[in-house]
């Protein structure tokens, strides 16, 4: 085991290397390109026995990934944002082949306008596809979850591809201390790929990904895939327990931080959740009973663990770093659906949209979100959803609009 200071991208590359990925169809896109460059360098130096295929687009890349996994090799690939969206036809297409592989997504906001900075709208666009999703908040977690993801994908009751998500810039290009496990220990945790009966070879005719005529079989096949994703919850618990035994680090479907006795809870995913932990510590120092709940598993959505973690809380502030146009924050909707009608469900569920395009969330904003919960609880009704955005920031935008000759002619009421 080596302790190193590496970026999130390098941690993902180490995950692929330790998993002994056989094949990496690739396509570059900021902010994930360092992953494929690192692996390409190892392949060139003879340090990793993996074949890399530079594809011409992400649509082709995911097609190649699914096809190779269906043929019977362990596949690793990576993308972000616009690339993930370009692949979307096949992101929805490959899970139904029931061939497992791991896709690392380095989250980045979507156009229009184009940005290079992170948020979660991209990876959430894949949430209905059949890929499982694991969300990381530290570089160590990126490496560990990549290994766990292979076990999860290849689990006999799952057999589906898995997305491991890390935030662009805040994890991808940021170095943090990471323990790189010993390859022999990883081999014991994650043995060689067993394709079971999903494989192409002479003497074993197989027709994959076929057309189905008739809504009855179609319903069956689709729902079976859904049932398999739900198996992800018990499978993940099983695998994470083994991981903890082998490597000493615990990964539940939820990360909870000082939430057991908390009255008020922050609920958010990804790297910014560590900022929330910091804010929780400050608020605890001030005597407030605040905690954090962070889902690591997004698909399957961890319904029951969430009901347990949030039962009896007075208020939950959901911080969505994503935006569903015309509805609002995705986590907020999904959480509300889990809590509705449950006895002991938190009284107040507040929606905040923050961190779009990597916009920083300041400590005082976390403090204020809890104040909003308090006031809402006193008033007895939920606050209206809020975008975290300040008057100074709006002034900044107005200056840019002036340069762009984008004057507002009148305020629309």
């Amino acid at each position: 085991m080596t302790r190193a200071l590496i970026t999130g991208n390098q941690a993902a590359a180490w995950g692929a290397r330790l998993a002994r990925a056989d094949y990496m169809p690739s396509f570059p896109i900021t902010p994930q390109t360092e992953i494929i460059e690192t692996i390409a360098g190892w392949i060139d130096q003879g340090e990793m026995d993996c074949r890399m295929a530079m594809m011409e687009s992400e649509h082709s890349m995911i097609t190649a990934a699914g096809a190779a996994a269906a043929t019977g090799v362990r596949v690793f690939t990576a993308t972000s944002s616009q690339g993930l969206l370009y692949a979307m036809e096949m992101i929805y297409g490959v899970p139904g082949m029931r061939a497992p592989f791991v896709l690392v997504n380095v989250s980045r906001g979507l156009q229009t306008p184009v940005t290079l900075e992170p948020d979660h709208t991209d990876v959430l666009a894949a949430r209905d596809s059949g890929f499982l999703q694991i969300h990381c908040s530290t570089c160590q977690e990126v490496l560990d979850q990549t290994l766990i993801a292979y076990r999860l994908a290849e689990h006999h009751r799952v057999r589906l591809p898995v997305i491991v998500n890390l935030d662009g810039f805040y994890l991808s290009f940021t170095r943090e201390p990471v323990e790189i496990p010993d390859p022999a220990a990883v081999d014991r945790f994650l043995p060689g790929f067993d394709p079971e009966t999903t494989r192409f070879r002479a003497g074993e005719p197989l027709s994959q990904g076929v057309v189905v005529l008739g809504s009855v079989p179609y319903s069956y096949f689709r729902y079976e895939t859904h049932l398999a994703t739900l198996q992800g919850l018990p499978a993940y618990a099983e695998i994470a327990a083994e991981f903890a035994q082998a490597f000493g680090r615990e990964y539940g479907a939820l990360e909870t931080y000082k939430s057991d006795d908390a009255e008020w809870v922050l609920f958010m995913m990804g790297s910014f959740a560590t900022k929330a932990k910091d804010a929780v510590d400050r608020m605890r120092e001030a005597g407030w009973k605040v905690g954090l709940v962070r889902p690591r598993l997004l698909r399957p959505f961890p319904d029951e663990p969430l009901r347990q973690a949030l039962a009896g809380k007075r208020g939950v502030a959901v911080v969505d770093q994503n935006l569903s146009m015309g509805k609002g924050g995705v986590l907020h909707s999904e959480l509300a659906s889990v809590l509705y009608g449950q006895p002991d469900a938190p009284t107040i569920l507040a929606s905040f949209i923050g961190g779009l395009g990597g916009r920083d969330i300041a400590p005082e904003e976390f403090f204020e979100m809890i104040q909003v919960l308090r006031r809402a609880a006193e008033e007895g009704r939920p606050p209206t959803p809020r975008l975290l955005f300040t008057a100074d920031e709006l002034r900044e935008v107005r200056k840019l609009q002036a340069v762009a000759h984008a004057e507002r002619r009148e305020e629309l009421k």
Binding site: R175, K275, R282, L412
Partner: protein, 305 residues
């Protein structure tokens, strides 16, 4: 926690400098979080990098609002608002500037009452400026007080391991020299404290008004607004035309300039737009009578912010 911000230009090795310091702290058993931030991600364009170091796991992320140490590799960045050198500095911030001017001059210029230290810039040769980063890292290591000389050396070697021994040696010389130079200020940088609830002011949140579609779209309703961006700030070398040698050859320098930064008057006299010239020196290379000279930008720089 130590919170350190580095400022430099693309190509000066500032990302490497921040990593040298990050690695040195890591080798000394600190929890470390370091990251570069780019604006335009081009040679010459301002960049900055963060380093955080603490004994406990670090949960903070992103912008360092109140740095304990600000390291500036290129003093021409100080007066540039977009470079953000002076953001969040307080009386307890230590500033370390690579400059040939006196610390007192800088303190007056930026109206700073804290500790301001300088590192002399040995040369203005463009190639040599690549080692400014190593010197900055070495000096910063000494100012923190937590990094022994041997650890700094190990960190420099580790960060440059992919490059030749010659480059490693030259960077090490710079780093260790600067480390030694800062002896009398060793440990003057103190760890900062976290932001408390009591200190916090409620954020000035606004409800975004609904704006009309054409203003609310990322669309630019004007031509050539890019001229407002002073890419001339990227320059480390400036092309200067000797009009006695210039034979008004018609267009060579102006045609080749990728950035449309050389206009030609009706009488054939070329004029360089120094607000935008990036200092690529193609005009210098292509001018048939060699009438354009490359002059270090330092000789022209305005110092006052």
């Amino acid at each position: 926690m130590y919170r350190i911000r580095f400022h430099g230009r693309g190509g000066q090795g500032m990302k490497t400098a921040s990593r040298m310091l990050g690695t040195a702290l890591f080798l000394e058993g600190f929890q470390v979080q370091d990251a570069p931030r780019y604006g335009a991600e081009r040679r010459g364009a301002p960049i900055f990098a963060y380093v955080r170091a603490a004994r406990d796991p670090i949960h903070e992320r992103g912008v360092i609002r109140e740095p304990d140490l600000v390291v500036v590799a290129d003093d021409s960045l100080v007066p540039v608002p977009a470079a953000g050198v002076l953001q969040g500095i307080t009386a307890r911030t230590v500033m370390l500037i690579s400059t040939n001017e006196a610390a007192a001059t800088w303190r007056d210029r930026i109206n700073f009452s804290g500790s301001l230290l300088t590192l002399p810039v040995e040369t203005s040769e463009q190639a040599e400026l690549r080692f400014v980063g190593a010197a900055s890292a070495g000096a910063a290591a000494r100012l923190l007080g937590a990094i022994p000389r041997a650890t700094l050396e190990a960190a420099v070697r580790e960060e440059l391991s992919a490059l030749g021994e010659d480059i490693i040696r030259r960077n090490l010389e710079q780093a260790l020299d600067a480390f030694d130079r800062m002896a009398e200020h060793a440990g003057c940088v103190n760890e900062g404290t976290a932001f408390s609830v009591a200190d916090a002011k409620a954020p000035d949140w606004v409800d975004l008004p609904l704006d009309e579609a054409d203003a609310a779209a990322a669309a630019i309703h004007a031509g050539a607004t890019s001229v407002e961006v002073r890419t001339g700030l990227w320059r480390v070398l400036r092309p200067v035309i000797d009009y006695d040698r210039c034979n008004r050859c018609w267009w060579v320098c102006s045609e080749f300039c990728p950035d449309s930064a050389i206009t030609v008057a009706a009488d054939g006299r070329p004029e360089i737009d120094y607000d935008h010239c990036k200092g690529c020196m193609i005009c210098v290379a292509q001018c048939p009578p060699h009438a354009i000279a490359a002059v270090p930008e330092q000789e022209f720089a305005e110092k006052t912010p």
